[in-house]
Symmetry: C2
Subunit: 184 residues, 2 copies
DNA sequence: CAAATTAAGTCAACATTACTGACATATATT
DNA sequence: AATATATGTCAGTAATGTTGACTTAATTTG
């Protein structure tokens, strides 16, 4: 019966700290850095009544024009229903257009419109500016080291996707999984 | 009247790439790394029917036992209402306890219970493990460089808070703003 | 001391983003 | 012809966030 104590007795007053052998600093840096990192896009998109979800869809469609819905779902790790809502709006508002797949006409491939590309670039520029400004104040090797760290923080099975976005390995689930004759 | 073109004409087929002078790689690394970073806590807390919001409240209360509601709102940058909902549950479930402030009895200072501390530590350990595993594979200077980068990514006005969490500058809006006679 | 301010809680209403599960349609594949 | 796949859609629900107005209690200020 010692389970239920008086409130003032069971309370802990000393802070959790690095003494516990845990890198709280890094944990919190990730939290705060990411929070501020997405704040800019959030603000910009709010003027269009769009949210973070719209941004992500717009971004990856611009990074992989012709991406299929399935591949997009795989990147975003959200459900079809969640995607459908924001995608519908983006298409209605002419930021994204659909075209049936040439080889597989069940697919509805997603492409940015000119308007969509402009918006995506505007937002990315804003985020890139924050990154560049942060790096400016630091030694040049910081960028490489940070990239390596963030990359290692990603689940192994997600890493190929990330790489493919930057090195044009388009046949890697993301783009044209049918045209995989070139690799593998 | 050249604004409204046929769909197939106005579509953009080439990917946005680093050629546009923007570091998309870093942007996406932050996105994917953060997504996987919060996935572990999300999973653990889901078993308690808690979400990310609960985690954040629990975390900072453990990092700053005795924190006031106002200071917590300032860290989390959410509204009183959003906080109230999750805080109420955490108190009901005996993860967090309230005590009136000694000098200012309007305040309801928040403390972790033993149960709350245990949960917070468990989650932090999990996140720290991911960080340490990532760093293990990389040169030793990576940690310092990454910390510096993430720190520089935070809005300047938020940086003192981050530092205070790690260096016990408790009198910095976060903890005991009344008892500021000791420093300053 | 009375008035104003502050810390916190509460209520109502609402928006966004996410989820699940079931079902429909068209197209490919076997 | 039967099955599988890609996508869309519907209904219902949950978590998290917002705003604005109001209350209570305690502190500060004129």
């Amino acid at each position: 019966m010692t389970e239920k104590k008086v409130d003032s007795d069971e309370v802990i007053t000393h802070p959790m700290s690095e003494d516990d052998g845990i890198s709280f600093e890094m944990i919190e840096l990730l939290f705060f850095a990411y929070r501020d990192f997405v704040a800019d896009p959030d603000t910009m998109l709010a003027t269009l009544s769009y949210g973070r979800a719209h941004h992500r869809v717009l971004h990856f469609v611009n990074r992989r024009p012709g991406i299929t819905v399935a591949a997009l779902l795989d990147i975003l790790k959200i459900t079809k229903q969640s995607l459908a809502r924001v995608l519908k709006q983006l298409i209605e508002d002419d930021y994204i257009a659909q075209q049936p797949g040439e080889t597989d006409r069940r697919q509805r491939r997603l492409f940015p419109t000119v308007k969509g590309r402009e918006l995506a670039l505007e937002i990315s520029k804003c985020q890139a500016r924050r990154i560049e400004e942060a790096l400016q104040t630091l030694p040049p090797e910081t960028k490489k080291a940070s990239k390596a760290f963030l990359y290692a923080m990603i689940e192994p099975q997600g890493r190929p996707t990330v790489r493919s976005l930057n090195h044009g390995l388009e046949a890697l689930t993301v783009f044209e999984p049918d045209d995989s004759s070139r690799r593998k």
